[in-house]
Amino acid sequence: MSVKTISPESVGLSRSEYNEIVRRLGRDPTPLELQLFGVMWSEHCGYKHSKLTLRSLPSSAPHLLQGPGENAGVIDIGDGWAVAFKMESHNHPSAVDPFNGAATGVGGILRDILSMGARPIALVDSLRFGPLTDPKSRRIATGVVAGIAAYGNCVGVPTVAGEIFCDPGYRDNPLVNVACLGLLRHDRIARSRAVGPGNPVLYAGARTGRDGIGGAAFASEELHEASEHEDRASVQIGDPLAGKLLIEATLEALATGDVVALQDMGAAGLTCATSEMSAHGGVGMIIDLDRVPLRESSMGADEIFRSESQERMLLVVRKGSENRISAIFRRWGLQAAVIGHITADRELRAEYHESTVVALPPYALAEAPAYRAVACEPPGLAERWITPDALSTVDPGSALLSLLRGSDVAAKRAVFEQYDHMVQIRTVVAPGAAGAAVLRIHESPPKAVAITVDGNGRLCALDPYRGTRLAVAEAAANLACVGAEPLGVTDCLNFGNPEDPEVFWTFRQSVMGITDACRALQIPVVGGNVSFYNESPEGPIPPTPVVAMVGLIRDVSQIATQSFKKDDDVVVLLGSSVPDLAASYFLTQIHGLSRGRPADVDFDIHASVLSAVREAITSGLLSSAHDCSDGGIAVALAESAIAGRIGAEVTLPYNDRAEVALFGEAPSRVAVSLSPDRLPDLQILAANHGVELVVLGRTGGSRLRIDVTDRRIVDLSLGELIEAHGALDEVFR
């Protein structure tokens, strides 16, 4: 492309940002350089509006081997093994092209984990769509699921857990957040810091084409009416076979010990990899764009630099090893080309057709300016905390069936069966069997890791601080209910336009929520992703922070799932928080009211309840464990009954309105079942943790019967429960 002059605005930069570039360079940037600044200083790559706020997140822990700042966080799990994990969003591409957008979202996060030297062993995803009764939302939802399946299945990494929530606020801007977990040896951690002047820079993987050019900039704009048609070229097209080969070849290359640094070429492609790697290492780099393997020979320097073609890595290797390393990639059928080398002069220089087209300090490009945005509490929030005094009467049994049918609670079986969730033969607790998936680490038996993903935009729209704390609390509860101890968190923060003070206020509240919750539970945040500009002509999406939490299980034979296991177990409630209908799923689903103030988690109580549950599981006391979240205790009990195909007869301890007892929500409550002869042990254990315990009833039979204050309120057959819970089957099959 022979652009003589371009305006900063045309590459998404402001006048003041242009002036900052001139200040850093001591001259005007060339048009090509300005384009590189455009992608690197996009919100997606530069975190301009978020990085100052994110500083508050707790990111240290004794077992942390790598915190934020690299491609993913790494945490020790003992015996020389570690796990790497990270979550990323691929929202805008999925809005425009659901299948390819979601598929490349999977591919991108896999390479982040691979960049740490880890073998990807699990994927989890958190999805948000408009109501599935709406044809457009259905098309997006089925396309996204098919895209995740197509890429994840072919690449051989199991998709083991996930969540789907629907709300009209996501109709035009769905969310596709994907987290990946990888396994590695401590001594094999790889990093992106380029070092060693003279070391060759090796391009490896697929060829560079004209897809996804400027994708990072596209992700940093609001979607508009014509996005679906105009922005197709900004969406990358994935090749999962190349992704799979890249995993194998990269791990083989890393095993030689000759790889000094590596990074994937994802958002902002070659621009990001070259500038960040040299900036992190405090070195310079010379690259020759003519040596980059291309799909079409006519590509210009700007296209080669900004292409976001998938399945590409940039490596710095020890001088002299380049032929050996290249041979590994070629053996796997991939491209490998030495495109340059490291220099000592701290300058990033690019040659194209025998002239120098870029020459600037890498940090100037890699370190986007940071902004302290204006925050302003949205007016009328407190008004939405008021719930109506009287609600129309509903039949509790029908209400329970309706909650089970709702897309937030209904079984996601038809989705999970489209994903290979068993490949790599680690999956001990499969998706849907518990709030968290459990993967055995057969390299270091009897260990296992658990992973869960949680977020609730409905609650965060009402109170972003409390809603976010509830998401962290629920993730920790999901881990506890399989018997896992939390190791770390990765977050994906999905919000609207940060330049809108009200949006920025919700973002800041959310980050405070994660900060306080993770500090209280002593869980480090090891990295994550911010996705702003999730807006459509209708306005911003509900504020949607999503957390993925990873936990450790020391002995995989001591775990629990949510299903009732046998007749005549006692059903027990651990935790005494008082349920409330404010901001409940019941109010939304049954009465169409998104109102009320979400509960404030008391993390001291929460931690006690969770450690009691964990200890009960690891001591082998429990048959099942299920935390009470959306839909309250009634939904939790129904899910345990459905999963185990075993009924129960229980009496709830609350002297309140029946629907509050059944469907009211409160954090820090876990419904468990166990053999009656183990009950005394559980009572002692609960007392030791200062946790209240109430015996609710017994499992057995083929009906779920719930009494409140001596009245039978719910009496439903398993068949009715199962049918309602399977409501999403027809959407996804």
């Binding site: 072919c154 076979l241 069966e417 489209q418 290979d420 033969i425 001990v428 499969a430 299903s563 099959r733």
Partner: protein
């Protein structure tokens, strides 16, 4: 015994098969590279699951033409045992080592879940330790498992006893003709099946029925070594029919 697991570009279950054969069954395992032209001195060849060559064109179509396949064919022709699991089964079909073809699942979707299947033939090295009618539980995970052959070919396959496994839940999870889940060649030494025995070989994963197939071939190879004769038929006559007919229970609570 020495097993050779073929690694195609895009094989995903290669490590899983190697883990089960090596660490669960204590066998010697070598990796066979798709680009090589020999299977060396192995006693049994396993074509693992996955998406060989991305399953571009058709599942297994490109892999069937890879350099190692002529060696696999002559290994099979010599009467020695070959097992194709899922994508490996598709490769065997495309290579003409087994009759018929795979269509996309009738649902047009990938399907991953445990299924039950019935052992229909014990004349193969992988089933000679089992009983006809025995029900096995193991997972499927595929998008193209809808087995198809013309009616006359199906009749012929049935007549010659080449149906080794049939889905036994009254429904094909993928639409496969006559509920066919697994097949053998006429000689019986080449077996392909869609379900994944390597995913059902350890109790922690919910079922150990898959291990029976591997144990079967190990004892087949061992007895053949003892008998010292080259024909697999001789060995199958030596089998000891002492297996429990009940399936090990799949722990549905974890599924």
């Amino acid at each position: 015994m020495r097993f050779g697991v073929v690694i195609f570009p895009g094989s995903n279950c290669d490590h899983d098969c190697i883990h089960v054969l090596r660490n669960v069954l204590g066998q010697d395992v070598v990796e066979l590279w798709h680009g090589d032209s020999s299977v060396n001195d192995v006693d049994c060849v396993v074509l693992p699951g996955g998406f060989a060559y991305g399953d571009y064109l058709r599942a297994g179509a490109v892999a069937a033409t890879s350099p190692i396949m002529p060696a696999v064919k002559s290994f099979a022709e010599s009467g020695r045992p070959v097992l194709g699991i899922c994508n490996g089964f598709q490769v065997l079909l495309e290579a003409g080592l087994l009759p018929g073809a795979m269509l996309r699942n009738r649902s047009l979707q990938f399907r991953c879940r445990p299924v039950e299947m019935r052992v229909e033939s014990t004349r193969t090295p992988f089933t000679w330790n089992l009983r006809e009618g025995q029900i096995l539980q193991m997972p499927i995970a595929h998008g193209e498992g809808n087995y198809f052959a013309p009616d006359d070919m199906l009749d012929e396959i049935e007549r010659t006893g080449q149906v080794v496994f049939r889905y036994s839940e009254g429904i094909s999870p993928n639409g496969a003709a006559r509920f066919i889940a697994g097949l053998c060649n006429q000689a019986g030494n080449v077996v392909g099946l869609m379900p994944h025995p390597e995913r059902a070989a350890e109790a922690i994963l919910g079922s150990t029925d898959g291990r029976l197939l591997f144990e079967s071939v190990v004892s087949f190879l061992e007895s053949r070594a003892v008998v010292g004769r080259s024909s697999w038929v001789v060995a199958t006559e030596q089998r000891s029919p002492t297996y429990d007919l009940r399936p090990t229970t799949y722990d549905r609570s974890r599924r």
